[in-house]
């Protein structure tokens, strides 16, 4: 941690953004540094261990950690306000876990705060079910002599069966937990965890606590669930929404998934979240298809069918309506007289405006396609890398038996394959980033870095696909190239992150 801080203060001298961050970090807990280093351990032997300009501090939390944090806050508030823990929990959820604001509000207006939170002011007694003679349940209208009933402090009493059914429907049916109200018409008292425990099955109780944990993480700005399927970890990171213009906060979960803390999409460094969103929308949109159509096709002047000219002369015959026209001037072919293959009417046409529009559309399309093709290529290659990764394991096993190398000695293939994936991911997003980048004196350096990384990646990729018997001899070479790829990636990301942080990039879009 100390070396990190030193690095930070050197790297960011005079910058208030990272200073704020550093002070936030201290409140995150003492085992922060360990988890953080753990997340990047595979880079450790290749690059320096100190934090890079494009890295952010974060901490991975297990479900138990989340529970512990939750309970700690509940107990703190409980002892400060002298309220039972289950009531403090409701209060904290009502105040979206903003402890200071909540305590302040409570101190100023205790009764109103309790009322609004759905608590009521009476905290006497332990909850228990009762049999009350002559009772008729207002929900099911049953009135049996031995009817077990329950009421919270609001006094709205219902039979235990109905209460249970109601809670089960809220928890299972609606996925609600934090704000389940009393079943009484118009009563806003929140069902507390003690009452709930008394009434529902253990399975439902587990579900209730899972849902509570979910709202806890959702409510806190510094927590996000890892989006990987079936992963139950959350990540704690102090980067705020407003910081996302200047930082791309990639984090790595304990499950190995790299994702952006800002938008929870897969790691998209160096492109900022907002540009990523625009880019993905653009790629998804049919607008580009429309653009292509407008640049490459024309409509038949008679029946308006869309026609793509795929070679040949200017004498067009519409397949649909058999109309004969000139591709250049769109005029009737019969008026072209004898200059059959050269439309001399084009130049004299007054439609220069239409022609400029077509040229403009074509230029913007070509620019987009330039970046898109490279983006898509790396995406495709990254997918192939995934297959490659599966093959790697087989390769490693056969390499062990063929060359007599130990398991540890063949790990270089795994390292290389991971480096490939990560670098391609980065390269992919450099193209989306570049699409929105306006030229200035820094873009050339960026493009050089991009080119260098691309070259390094293609070199390694090629080497990696060599047949198994050759791989053992290439070990040193592959290790070298892997290290080089990682180094180029660090250089590219550091450069882009520094410039982003300092507002040095200019973009050709508003975001």
């Amino acid at each position: 941690m100390e070396s990190d801080d030193d690095f930070m203060s050197v790297a960011s001298s005079g910058d208030d953004f990272l200073d704020t961050q550093a002070s936030d970090d201290e409140s995150l807990g003492e085992d922060f540094g360990d988890d953080f280093d753990g997340g990047f351990s595979k880079d450790k032997d290749i690059v320096a261990t100190s934090r890079k300009p494009y890295e952010v501090e974060f901490k991975v939390l297990s479900p138990d950690d989340i529970d512990r944090d939750q309970n700690q806050q509940i107990n703190e508030v409980s002892s400060i306000l002298s309220l039972p823990p289950e009531s403090s929990a409701i209060l904290l959820r009502y105040g979206r876990w903003n402890r200071e604001k909540l305590i302040e509000g409570y101190m100023d207006h205790p009764e109103e705060t309790l009322e609004e939170a759905g608590l009521g002011t009476n905290f006497e007694g332990t909850p228990k079910t009762e049999v009350i003679p002559g009772f008729v349940c207002d929900i099911c209208c049953e009135d049996g002599d031995n009817l077990e009933t329950y009421a919270m402090r609001c006094g709205h009493r219902f039979c235990v069966d109905c209460y249970r059914h109601y809670l089960a429907q809220k928890i299972r049916g609606e996925g609600e937990a934090a704000r389940i109200e009393c079943p009484g018409d118009g009563c806003n008292m929140i069902v507390d965890s003690k009452s709930l425990s008394l009434l529902v099955t253990p399975a439902l109780k587990d579900r209730y606590y899972t849902l509570l944990q979910r709202t806890y993480v959702d409510d806190k700005e510094n927590l996000k669930w890892c989006p990987a399927p079936n992963c139950e970890y959350a990540v704690d990171c102090s980067v705020k929404q407003r910081d996302l213009r200047r930082i791309v906060p990639t984090v790595q979960c304990n499950c190995k998934h790299h994702f952006c803390f800002g938008c929870t999409l897969n790691d998209h460094q160096p492109a900022p979240c907002q540009l990523v969103k625009m880019w993905l929308k653009k790629c998804e949109d049919d607008s580009e298809t429309a653009n292509w159509i407008s640049a490459n096709t024309k409509e038949c002047p008679r029946c308006h069918s869309t026609i793509e000219k795929n070679g040949g002369c200017n004498h067009m015959t519409c397949r649909k309506c058999k109309h004969e026209f000139c591709w250049m001037c769109m005029g009737l072919w019969s008026e072209h007289g004898t200059s059959w293959y050269n439309c001399n009417r084009y130049e004299e046409k007054s439609g220069s405006e239409a022609r400029t529009a077509q040229a403009k559309s074509r230029a913007s399309l070509e620019r987009y396609l330039h970046y898109y093709n490279r983006y898509a290529n790396h995406e495709q290659s990254a997918k192939l890398d995934k297959d490659l990764y599966l093959k790697t394991e087989k390769k490693m096993t056969s390499l062990q038996s063929q060359s007599g190398l130990s398991w540890i000695e063949v790990q270089f293939l795994d390292t290389a394959s991971q480096a490939l994936q990560q670098c391609r991911q980065t390269l992919k997003w450099t193209y989306a980033f570049a699409y929105y980048l306006a030229r200035n004196n820094l873009t050339e350096i960026f493009e050089d870095n991009q080119k260098d990384l691309e070259l390094a990646v293609e070199n390694l990729s090629e080497m990696f696909e060599k047949p198994v018997p050759e791989l053992a001899n290439l070990k040193v070479d592959i290790l070298d190239k892997t290290a080089y790829c990682n180094k180029r990636r660090v250089i590219l990301l550091s450069d882009t992150a520094e410039n982003l942080k300092n507002g040095e990039w200019s973009f050709n879009v508003e975001w």
């Binding site: 207002d138 099911c140 209208c141 049953e142 219902f158 059914h165 429907q169 609606e174 018409d185």
Partner: protein, 152 residues
């Protein structure tokens, strides 16, 4: 679980119905489908009209809310102007409904809505606009529709 409750509510509503409301089962063998006749309240453009309101109870009733729709065409910001005549009431949303809420309250609320539409919570935006900005014209059309569709 809900049949005893439904029977009780039906009995209560039949014996002492709220003002301007009569209730019966659409089909004697099915306690989940109700036919409700609602008289247009005095002071509203629906006055003198008699509206058929269909009340449908889910099998999970009373843990899930009933749904209400107009069987008679009506010109109203909170009722869809189609053959479904759906009505959107806040209290009938699954997350607002309480199992102890009563059908009588739903019907009274619906009838009150005829006196006082809720244009900010409308399903027919155009009618809501008119209700807010050109009340006279709204009254006129609502009265006309009442005459046309709600008077036998």
């Amino acid at each position: 679980m809900g049949s005893k409750r439904i029977a009780k509510e039906l009995a209560e509503l039949t014996e002492s119905p709220p003002e301007g409301i009569t209730v019966e089962l659409a089909n004697e063998s099915d306690i989940y489908q109700w036919k409700v006749y609602m008289d247009g309240p005095e002071g509203s453009p629906y006055h003198n009209g008699r509206f058929l309101v269909k009340l449908s109870l889910p099998t999970e009733y009373p843990f899930k809310p009933p749904s209400v729709s107009f069987g008679t065409k009506i010109y109203h910001p909170n009722v869809t102007n189609d053959d479904k005549g759906s009505m959107c009431l806040g209290m009938l949303r699954a997350d607002e409904w309480k199992p102890s809420s009563k059908i009588a309250a739903v019907l009274e609320f619906a009838r009150q809505l005829l006196v006082e539409p809720m244009p900010d919570d409308a399903v027919e935006g155009r009618i809501a606009e008119q209700y807010k900005n050109d009340r006279a014209r709204y009254d006129e059309i609502a009265r006309e529709w009442t005459r046309k569709y709600a008077m036998a």
